[in-house]
């Protein structure tokens, strides 16, 4: 349900302003100036970065290491501040 909805005419639309898809069509990664980079060696897999991400842009892989979804990460930097091991650094986007 994350595909962009493209209507051509009014008859394609629902009766009222009713959502037909999810906001995952909106790739908020383009908002970012700073990008979080995770140093796996320092990571203790506590999940705190995952927990405090307002954009649901960090998931934990099979080994519980955090992975940043750069398609959506807005680069707010909360993960870097909250990380108890300073394992996340915000670096400038090119």
């Amino acid at each position: 349900m994350s595909d962009e909805i493209k209507w051509k005419k009014e008859s394609d639309m629902p009766l009222m302003a009713m959502s037909m898809g999810r906001m995952t069509v909106n790739k908020t990664g383009s908002w970012r100036n700073l990008r979080p980079v995770i140093e796996k060696e320092k990571c203790i897999k506590c999940g705190i970065c995952w927990k405090f991400c307002p954009d649901v842009s960090i998931r934990l892989d099979e080994e519980d290491y955090p992975v940043v979804d750069l398609e959506f990460c807005k680069g707010c930097g909360i993960c870097a501040v909250e990380c108890p091991k300073d394992a996340i650094t915000m670096i400038k986007e090119e």
Binding site: M13, M16, A17, S19
Partner: protein
Amino acid sequence: MQKVIMGNHALSWGALLSRAEVIAAYPITPQTEVVELLSNMCADGDLDAQFIKVESEHSAMAASMGASAAGARTFTATSAQGLALMHEVLHWATGARLPIVMGNINRAMAPPWTIWTEQTDSISERDTGWLQIYTSSIQEILDSVIQAYKVAEQVYLPVMVVLDSFVLSHTNENCDIPDQSKVDAYLPKFENAYKLDVNKPAAYGGLTGPDWYYELRYKIQKDTERSLDLFVETGKEFGEMFGREYGLVETYKLDDADTVLVSSASIASTARPVIDAMREEGHKVGLIRVRVFRPFPSDLMRKLLEGRKKVLVVDRNISFGMSGAFYEETKAALYNVKNSPPMWGYIAGLGGRDVPTNVVRDMIEQTMKEDHPSGDIIWIGVKK
């Protein structure tokens, strides 16, 4: 079942027979008996509905929106200041395409404080997208609530059933209360295809830009226009089942009439014996009672009025700086017509000023006497 009931109770009975599932209402004179009877109907178990006793009319409409959005058949009632307080959410109910039915008792607006009848309250809401039925008898009030749901639920638009304060709301009259089983057959249980459903999560009413808002409004207009046919169809079907047919307008002795009185609600009702009396004297006068005001039946009015000698429209409402609403709309409908008759626009009965037969007669006679109306607005009976 034959009963003598008051207009307000006819609204309650209409809601009961329509099996309203949620009622949210706030008391206001002259509407209180509507909610009192409904409360008792719920308390006695005659009506299996949730009754939300809200803290304002604004909340009455807002709660109705929530309930209707959740898929429940929803009823409320108000009047005048209460309706005005709802204004914002009246638009909301339309935009959200919620088939709510509301009774509105036409009471004049304050200040000064007043409780007597006038249509300016509901006329002020004519642009909210609510369909409006103006009733003229106790029976019609009850029947209109049931028909209102039938139309509302097909076009997903809210309907206002309007009645005059006191002249209808507090008048007791013979009324046939139809059998529940027959009403159930006429108005089956409603399944809202767009209800809030955890199994089909969707957001309703989210921010919409100029790229699609325009089309959403187009859809409302199209469905509002469609409701014209639906009012006719459902009114006919109602006639077949219950022996009382309803349409967009009611005509009386119109066929060969060269002078036609157009009015609504109780004034149009009082006009009937006047037409009878004048017909007996040989005057070719006829009557159109506009029942459905929104959507305005422009085509039908054109058909009925084209080529007549004279038309007078009597309004119990006023759009200050212009004229009466029924006059405005009738005139607008006839504008591009070749044989458009001259049209007199009378303002009568504001604030509950009684409009007895002799006043109706005065307006018809004045119209017959003059070649052309002297202006856009003619006040009748102002104490000068």
